[in-house]
Symmetry: C2
Subunit: 342 residues, 2 copies
DNA sequence: AGACCTAAGTTAAACGTTTAACCAAAATCA
DNA sequence: TGATTTTGGTTAAACGTTTAACTTAGGTCT
């Protein structure tokens, strides 16, 4: 039988209340008592029972992490990494993370994750794009929520977001400063807020550098973002017969698909076409040439999201804070300097 | 305030014990009472409190999933997939999965996952290789355990294992039947049981096909399995100046490292060297040429492991069952036929 | 008819914490 | 000095279940 607080109390010759107060760092306890208690705890190998704690505190000690099937199954380690970040952070706090996936196309009749129905979480983290229907349904439970890498601007939630605009601006600037003037922009899922922000970052950068904007250089599909849509977008761009020396894809998957197309049509990368993606996923390194990208601090995002949750939970404030995490441009061999600007 | 069992009891005009017995399907309750209780539950939207239940039943409803840092951080989606498999299966049962990572090189003074210390799990799944020290330490808690893709043969545990021997035998046979007689075998971490099994599979296949075995074709490093060690192993093989037309690497990461080395030294794959890995991870497809491999059903393994756990937990039997999951050879462009055998 | 069993509930204790309310002794104050 | 405050603890209730032990009203035997 594992030791309980009573055993500790007995050994330390104090009451259970003293042990509890001591453990939880209450001011009322003197240093000496605390030491006595700590010794007893150590000697017995005592650890408080979670269920007993949860029962009295009316908390569950769990945080739910929700992701769409699509995002998890893609095995792009993108959201997996974010999940891991939350897990890392959760260890420092008295919480566990419970993972659940929901159908990508969540419908009215679909069931919410079991931990919601069973009331087994104190709050939820939602990563990536989810349907409005899902969001509406889950909001009826009134749980503290932090969204990650996605949010509906009209609904007010706490969120951890990527600096999409800044990232693509950086990429665009980098290309411009390396002599590229005709930079194509490939994207899909164009109604996705993040994609719009990325597109915006591209436009802003052109403007700032007084480079004329051309519709012809933009390929915006309404299919789902994927390697295939990257391939298709590159094909469409190619068909237009317009001049370009560089391509920015709205994420790495699309960039990789685009590279595939270009290679098939005999184009040399980066000699003829420079290319930059977004996300910084593992396989970028294994491309030929290695893909340049905007690196997103995925582990950090998970940690930030968890911290934000803790803030809401423990300080009882929910100010719908938004955290924008910075991104970093990583130039690899997929980008070539055409001519240095003086 | 969420309704409690008392509210249900009051509304249904019975005692809380009756409600409890009714919910848990005890025989003593008549159909009519049960219906009354169920109506009250529905009307109130009642859901039993997990912590209260756990406290009294001394169960937690959680299963711990333990992985080393190294294995998770590698972002090889290998163990991530296995984890997902357990999660999928857990949904069908009244359990949640709690994930924790431990230091790859777990030492005596390292702390066990928090959910162990806090007694928040009813059983544990351990995926991938863990140190003996860790295993010894965790076994003192006497928790039902299922190991995945690893086990110490001298300790008797339930486990879900890969058909390592069969897999490599298949690969070897496939190469032989395509005219390869000089097949190199590259591995690292040679004391790892799985690696030994794979090596064994290679030897057996040669024997069966009456192909002479040569020490010169075996590179067995004692470093950790990784892309780098694959690179190094290939280099070592190259240095020996021995003749070979095909290579089997003990996993995909090593195969990819080896391919890198061969490419750097100007060798054509598969024209000059055919190569096969093991695991079937996502990036195989993005290799140039796409890497042939032994495919492991990762999601299935997770599901199997969870089911095994349930069996142990609910049937109260622990027969130290071993499940060997079958593997499949996937031939992609990295393998070339030298000459058909008649 | 009386003894005994059975069926279907109920009562109350227990699980291991936290914490509001209480208390005694020591310190401080007027 | 006696009243009051502060300090450092203790007592006991409460959290929401489960379940062993008990009860009570009918039924069954002989």
């Amino acid at each position: 039988m594992r030791p309980t607080i009573k055993d500790v109390a007995r050994l330390a010759n104090v009451s259970t209340a003293t042990v509890s107060l001591s453990i939880n760092g209450h001011a009322r306890i003197t240093k000496e008592t605390k030491i006595k208690v700590e010794k007893a705890i150590k000697d017995l190998g005592y650890f408080p029972s979670r269920s007993a704690r949860d029962l009295v505190s009316r908390k569950t000690g769990n945080i739910g992490f929700i992701l769409t099937d699509g995002h998890f199954l893609k095995t792009e380690p993108f959201y997996t990494q974010i999940f891991l970040g939350t897990e890392f952070e959760a260890r420092k706090h008295p919480y566990y993370i419970l993972l659940a996936t929901i159908p990508t196309n969540f419908k009215e009749e679909d069931e919410l994750p079991r931990f919601i129905l069973e009331n087994s979480v104190d709050g939820i983290l939602i990563a990536g794009r989810v349907s409005k229907i899902f969001l509406k349904k889950i909001m009826t439970y009134g749980l503290p929520t932090v969204m990650i890498d996605f949010h509906y601007s009209e609904k007010n939630h706490s969120a951890v977001l990527i600096d999409n605009m800044g990232g693509v601006s950086k990429a665009t600037n980098a290309l411009i400063s390396r002599g590229h003037n005709n930079i194509a922009f490939l994207c899909a899922e164009h109604e996705h807020p993040s994609i719009q922000e990325r597109y915006h970052g591209y436009k802003i950068a052109l403007e700032k550098n007084s480079i004329p904007f051309s519709e012809q250089l933009i390929v915006s599909l309404d299919t789902i973002i994927s390697t295939e849509s990257g391939y298709d977008a590159a094909k469409e761009l190619n068909k237009r017969g317009v001049d370009f020396s560089a391509v920015i894809a709205c994420n790495d998957a699309m960039a990789i698909g685009a590279m595939q197309f270009f290679k098939e049509t005999g184009k040399q990368i980066p000699e003829e076409i420079s290319i930059i993606g977004f996300d910084d996923i593992e396989i970028d390194l294994y491309q030929d040439p290695p893909l340049s990208t905007i690196s997103v601090p995925k582990i950090d995002m998970g940690q930030d999201a968890f911290q934000l949750m803790i803030e809401i939970l423990e300080k009882r404030i929910n100010n719908h804070k938004k955290i924008i995490v910075p991104v970093e441009l990583i130039l690899r061999d997929s980008v070539k300097t055409i001519s240095k600007l003086s």
